[in-house]
């Protein structure tokens, strides 16, 4: 017990220290292009945390995590174009995604839906969002001064500013550091949350929902809270994505994004926060490298990798690696 707890905190502390080191040293050591690439991984890592948390530590499998990502992105795009600043829009994006998650969560959890079936509802809702936003090509779909743009999406989204410097667009290296700080902050907060009473009950829901209810906990409320937190994080990531790319299009809601998010979590390992972030890095980097080669159709390679990942590393990269290390460590110390 003691060992388990200290190990957990040690791991989280270690990850945080690495994160801070990356935050401070990357902009110094790497050139503009590499900083931009790493900013992308940071945003996606935050996105994947949203699912890693609700799935790994609340047992809620969402097939539609892209819905929150997309809502955050669109909310940020529309509000920042209208307001001419970015701090409030960032909060709006988080709020919109969180509110949508809360409403959807209420519909699902208080309707006593369960398990994968819940996954299907999240998937269908995201598909509806995708369909509808795709349909907004006409000039009548306008919010304030922001055209929704249908299939082509919203271009020219303002670049985020620091909350305390609203007049100055962030330099790429500052954006990287700002986003990295957000990522570290969310990671640490989630870790604290997981270790709290709330987190323990959330895990007990994942382990045995019925029993948790029989102990007098309002399972629906807990799930709703977890799902809403996940939605808020997804929305934040979406807003960061929008400002990073300076555009959003409906494909942000697509099945592909939801599936990618699932795959990153799966590949990294369900039930950890660190693993899925590694999963993002590994798979996105791979996809990027594949784009630079042309010896064979890239879909073939991605497909084969996915199949092998599932067949050979079913627990995910990080847990497999961790178990391997622990096993050897124990052997040496026995």
């Amino acid at each position: 017990m003691l060992r388990a707890i200290s190990k957990d905190w040690l791991g989280a502390g270690f990850v945080t220290v690495i994160g801070l080191a990356i935050l401070f040293f990357v902009p110094v050591l790497f050139d503009l292009f590499e900083v931009l690439q790493m900013t992308k991984y940071v945003v996606l890592a935050l996105f994947v945390l949203s699912l890693a948390y609700i799935w790994g530590f609340g047992g809620i499998l969402s097939f539609g995590q892209a819905g929150f990502f997309g809502l955050g992105g669109y909310a940020f795009a529309v509000s920042s174009i209208n307001m001419g600043q970015t701090t409030v829009p960032f909060l709006i994006a988080i709020a919109v995604a969180a509110l949508f998650a809360a409403a959807l969560g209420y519909f699902m959890f208080y309707g006593r839906l369960s398990d994968v079936y819940l996954g299907v509802v999240t998937l269908v809702v995201t598909l509806i969002l995708w369909k509808l936003i795709n349909h907004t090509a006409g000039p009548e779909y306008v919010i304030g001064t922001a055209r929704l743009g249908g299939f082509n999406g919203i271009p020219s989204i303002p670049i985020m500013t620091l909350p305390w410097q609203p007049d100055q667009e962030m330099e790429p290296s500052h954006m990287f550091q700002y986003f990295m700080a957000i990522l570290i902050g969310v990671y640490v907060l989630l870790h604290i949350l997981i270790k709290s009473k709330f987190g323990r009950i959330a895990i007990s829901i994942r382990e045995n929902e019925v029993r948790t209810g029989l102990l007098g906990y309002d399972v629906r409320l807990y799930k709703l809270a977890i799902f809403t937190i996940g939605g808020a994080i997804g929305g934040a990531a979406g807003a960061m994505w929008a400002t990073y790319q300076t555009f959003v299009d409906p494909n942000i809601f697509s099945l592909e994004w939801s599936a990618l998010c699932l795959i990153w979590v799966m590949a990294g390992g369900v039930g950890t926060l660190f693993g899925p972030m590694v999963g993002v890095l590994a798979l996105e980097y791979l996809s990027f490298q594949l784009g630079q080669t042309d010896f064979i159709n890239n879909l073939i390679i991605m497909g084969v990798i996915l199949i092998f990942l599932v067949l050979l590393l079913p627990k995910g990269l990080f847990p497999t690696f961790r178990d391997f290390v622990t096993k050897h460590w124990n052997r040496r110390h026995e």
């Binding site: 047992g59 499998l61 519909f107 309707g111 006593r112 839906l113 369960s114 398990d115 994968v116 079936y117 299907v120 509802v121 269908v124 809702v125 598909l127 509806i128 369909k131 509808l132 349909h135 099945l255 599936a259 699932l262 795959i263 799966m266 064979i296 159709n297 890239n298 879909l299 073939i300 390679i301 991605m302 497909g303 084969v304 990798i305 996915l306 199949i307 990942l309 599932v310 067949l311 079913p314």
Partner: protein, 288 residues
């Protein structure tokens, strides 16, 4: 009057289309708890089988009704042996693996056959309903779907293998204790599901574009139909196809295809909300 008849035929055609694309998925899903994301690509393979074999001189009906299901069915058995059998009871893993398979197949077909293979033209001509003319092939599709679902029903209801299949759906753990080789049942099921997908792809080949990415256009609807339908293969697919197909097509006639599709999803959502345990409860009790 003519117009109502035309609308009715189109409604039936949409329902028939859903039945065709969903049944294979439903068989695999209902019996094996495997969500085959590559189902759309299995249909694409069926389409390619028809397009390529007719090009080599094979009669189009042989290609659609025999070769497409045969080729894709054999391929399905291969996939089951190589990939799926390692993943029973792991619903999410099987989903990811079949997604990988789907990407692989799109890429592979593109490389092997190219993405611009000349299609087949639609057999039969058209007939007139008043001032409207309708492709006879539309009627053929409707009858094909009826024949298809009827034969699935009869097989499940009256044959020994149908009995085994139903027993597997009720309680997969029991089958082994009845002295039946469940591995064989699963292999056959996956093969049959794949063959259905191949047949559907073959039947749709003459009226859609046969391209490597065509599966992605079909899988979403098929998936939603199956999930809405629930555990019972025939009743589920039939009822879900009927409701979703007719409602969405009616809305399409009234407004346009955008709201038709959105309505399909929305109706599915309402159905799932109203019948949460009744429809899918049995399938998912053991999952995740």
């Amino acid at each position: 009057m003519d117009y109502s008849l035309v609308v009715a035929i189109e409604l039936l055609r949409e329902v028939a289309g859903l039945i065709l694309i969903a049944t294979g998925l439903a068989v695999i899903f209902g019996m094996m708890r495997v969500i085959n994301i590559a189902h759309g690509e299995f249909m694409m393979l069926g389409g390619y089988t028809v397009v390529l074999t007719t090009k080599w001189g094979v009669n189009i009906w042989v290609a659609i009704l025999i070769l497409a299901p045969l080729v894709v069915g054999v391929f399905g058995i291969l996939v089951e042996r190589l990939i799926i059998r390692h993943l029973y009871g792991r619903i999410i893993d099987s989903l990811l693996a079949t997604w990988g398979l789907s990407l692989f197949l799109i890429g592979f077909v593109t490389v092997a056959f190219g993405n611009t293979v000349e299609g087949v033209s639609t057999p039969f001509s058209s007939f007139s309903v008043g001032r409207y003319s309708i492709a006879i092939y539309t009627l053929f599709l409707i009858f094909a779907a009826i024949a298809f679902i009827t034969s699935v029903y009869l097989t499940l209801r009256y044959t020994k293998s149908g009995l085994i299949a139903r027993a597997t759906m009720q309680n997969p753990d029991m089958v082994e204790s009845l002295g039946i080789n469940s591995k064989l049942v699963y292999m056959a099921t996956f093969g049959i599901g794949a063959a259905f997908a191949g047949l559907a792809g073959g039947l749709l080949a003459p009226i859609s574009g046969v391209v490597p990415g065509m599966g992605a256009l079909l899988i979403g609807k098929a998936f939603i139909t199956v999930v809405t339908g629930g555990a019972a293969v025939v009743a589920g697919t039939l009822s879900a196809s009927a409701i979703l197909g007719s409602v969405s097509q009616a809305v399409t006639f009234a407004t346009g295809p955008v709201f038709g599709d959105a309505t399909l999803l929305f109706v599915a959502l309402i159905l799932l909300r109203l019948l949460p345990q009744g429809i899918t409860g049995r399938i998912f009790t053991r999952s995740v």
